[in-house]
Amino acid sequence: MIPSRENIIARVRAALRAEAHRPTQPSASPIWPPIGDLETRFRDEFEALRGELIVGADQLREFINQFGCIATDGSELVRTTVGDGNASVRVADLGVTGCDCLIAQTGSVFVTTRSTGGRALSVLPPAHLVIARRDQLVPDLASGFALMRKRYDGHWPSSLALITGPSRTADIEKILVMGAHGPKRLAVYFEG
């Protein structure tokens, strides 16, 4: 019996005895326009965010070769596509992970600590490469959450992260600068 907890809940209950006015009811009108073709939409959104879409095994090799020190999340898909990166996440200049799904609506990648090697791997190294399958692409945030709920309900990982583009800031006089703290480069490769 924690007094502060009881006090706050008691004050909340007392406060709510008075009824507040209700807001105007939302209409049935759709909030979002149609998504269209998922791959096209994802590419458009992702590239507008300065994400790099890697197409084909040659481009993938070219991309990987830019980095000397690679850390991977140890997942099956990543291992079969690029192999194992043994660098420590603290010194790696590229982190390679899978993902749970990708969102066409916003050009986002949805990862969790369970599916993608922990918290730091997808944010600490200055570049992040995501290996994905085409069937992981879903239309919108709602379907992304539905997928996560189905997969993890009742046994959630400690963290989920929706990543939408490389890191950026416009704090300095509204001038856009990439790579504030998180990765300066974010790339996605669709396998197969």
Binding site: S4, T106, S158, A161, I163, D171, E173, G182
Partner: protein, 486 residues
């Protein structure tokens, strides 16, 4: 006028008269306006999005006890710890206790107005625990020893040159460094801090009741780094940050981002539901959420203004406010600024001392128009003014002035006499102290020779008697005359 009100008036007057300051603000806000206009086109029906978001917050706030208990239950099940802080002091004490018991030497902080509200950094300083602000804007504020200027853009008031100068003084970097170079310097400095900090302190944009998670949104990634590397993570959040379900984020994240700065969603939206699991490779060993009351239950009890607690802290009302655009954030002298700040501060803090803020508005209503959760902000300013009068925070002379004014308005004879006196005073240049401040910079109008009602009685009625209206032919040459106002 209280000392705080006096201070506000002086600070506001100073900033309002500063053309450089205004130019910087206007530029920042113009960029914001353009981005938000673009961002809203992503919605097929922005107005309906607002209505739905308002509905979600209404549901939460009006059943807050239920959602608080659910959140706590789920958090505990996930291995997290929940602390209920009735006051700012309680929150500070708890956080310091955890820090001390774990021999914390260094804390990395992700941007959080709530931690500003409880003056956490000052408490850490007293305890000789180093605190590093990791959001670039807040980091710059910290180096400069200033408090953040705006909910979303902490250094809106500084130019790149200002920041380059600061970095030059502090780090010896080139005085004409580019924005990219400056950000790069900060990144390198802060990377070291992330890697060596003992504890991460953040706020939370939302608390999710049904899964017991918090969300943190940043564009920089400092939020994610603050909660990935240090061994302890403490999140401080007002009790009003709750939403019922995880799925509600499919709307709330885009709505917050669209109003905040025109994005589809913020770059990093992180959900945190507990310390690291056994199978996970990293993450904090301990995860605490401090649920903060600090006057929120007072606002909750005010059923009329309760929806002020729906606020998402997006900053849109600040950017829309013509007062804010001229006086900036620091002038307010308190954590929550601009229109929503002026509504909630008299509730969260001492009412009498802060009763001037709701008056520092022309009630233009731009704030209510942009609020993504449809808070009736400018009408609440009116409600706060009414409350201030009811509680007799007003000056005695003002109270009597309005009583006298009412008396004068209650019959046409008194009203006509009052009008006559006013026009005479105007003509004789007997400008009253009341009107005087207005005339600093503006010419008073020329008082007319006659009133409308006099004209109506002598000419305008056009022969139509008062009681019954009969159609009369218009007299030839009867043209209403007019003058252009000069």
């Amino acid at each position: 006028m209280t000392a705080i009100a006096d201070q506000f008036k002086r600070a506001a007057a100073e900033k309002a008269a500063d053309p450089h300051h205004r130019a910087v603000l206007q530029r920042a806000i113009a960029t914001y306006d353009a981005a938000v206009a673009r961002g809203k086109t992503r919605f097929a029906d922005w107005q309906n999005a607002r209505a739905q978001a308002a509905q979600i917050k209404w549901e939460t706030i009006n059943h807050l006890d239920r959602y608080l208990e659910q959140f706590e239950r789920q958090m505990i099940e996930n291995g997290g710890r929940v602390f209920w802080a009735e006051t700012a002091e309680d929150a500070r004490e708890y956080i310091l206790r955890i820090a001390r018991s774990h021999n914390v030497r260094k804390v990395v902080k992700s941007k959080s107005m709530t931690t500003e509200e409880i003056h956490l950094n000052a408490a850490f300083a007293v305890a000789e625990i180093q605190v590093v602000e990791t959001d670039l804007g807040e980091y710059i504020c910290q180096i400069r020893g200033e408090s953040p200027y705006h909910i979303v853009t902490p250094v809106m008031h500084l130019t790149k040159a200002d920041i380059a100068r600061t970095f030059h003084e502090k780090f010896g970097t080139a005085p004409d460094a580019t924005a990219e170079e400056l950000a790069g310097i900060a990144r390198a400095q802060l990377r070291h801090e992330f890697l060596t900090a003992d504890m991460g302190v953040t706020g939370a944009n939302f608390l999710i009741a049904d899964t017991g998670m918090i969300t943190i949104s940043t564009n920089e990634g400092n939020g994610r780094l603050s909660v990935s590397l240090p061994r302890i993570h403490i999140a401080v959040a007002g009790i009003e940050k709750l939403i019922p379900r995880l799925e509600d984020l499919a709307l709330m994240w885009p709505v917050l981002a669209a109003s905040g700065n025109g994005q589809a969603v913020t770059v990093y939206n992180t959900l945190l539901g507990g310390p690291r699991r056994d199978s996970e490779t990293d993450g904090p060993e301990e995860f605490h959420v401090v649920l903060l009351d600090n006057g929120r239950t007072r606002l909750l009890a005010d059923a009329e203004q309760r929806d002020a607690l729906h606020c998402l802290r997006c900053g849109a009302c600040l950017n829309a406010c013509p007062v804010y655009r001229n006086i900036g954030g620091h002038s307010y002298g308190t954590t929550y600024q601009g229109p929503i700040g002026s509504v909630i501060t008299p509730h969260l803090r001492e009412a009498r001392e802060w009763s001037h803020l709701p008056y520092a508005s022309s009630l233009c209503g731009a704030c209510s128009d942009v609020c993504p959760v449809r808070i009736d902000i400018h009408h609440h300013l009116l409600h706060n003014r009414r409350n201030a009068v009811r509680l007799r925070f007003d000056k005695t002379w003002e109270r009597w002035a309005f009583r006298a004014w009412l008396w004068a308005m209650q019959t046409p004879q008194r009203y006509v006499l009052a009008g006559k006196l006013a026009r005479v005073a105007l003509r004789l240049g007997l400008v009253t102290p009341l009107v005087n401040p207005w005339t600093q910079g503006r010419e008073l109008p020329e008082p007319p020779q006659h009133t409308f009602r006099l004209w109506w009685r002598n000419k305008g009625r056009d022969g139509c008697p008062q009681a019954s209206v009969k159609k009369q032919p218009r007299r030839a040459g009867d043209n209403a005359f007019y003058q252009h106002h000069e």
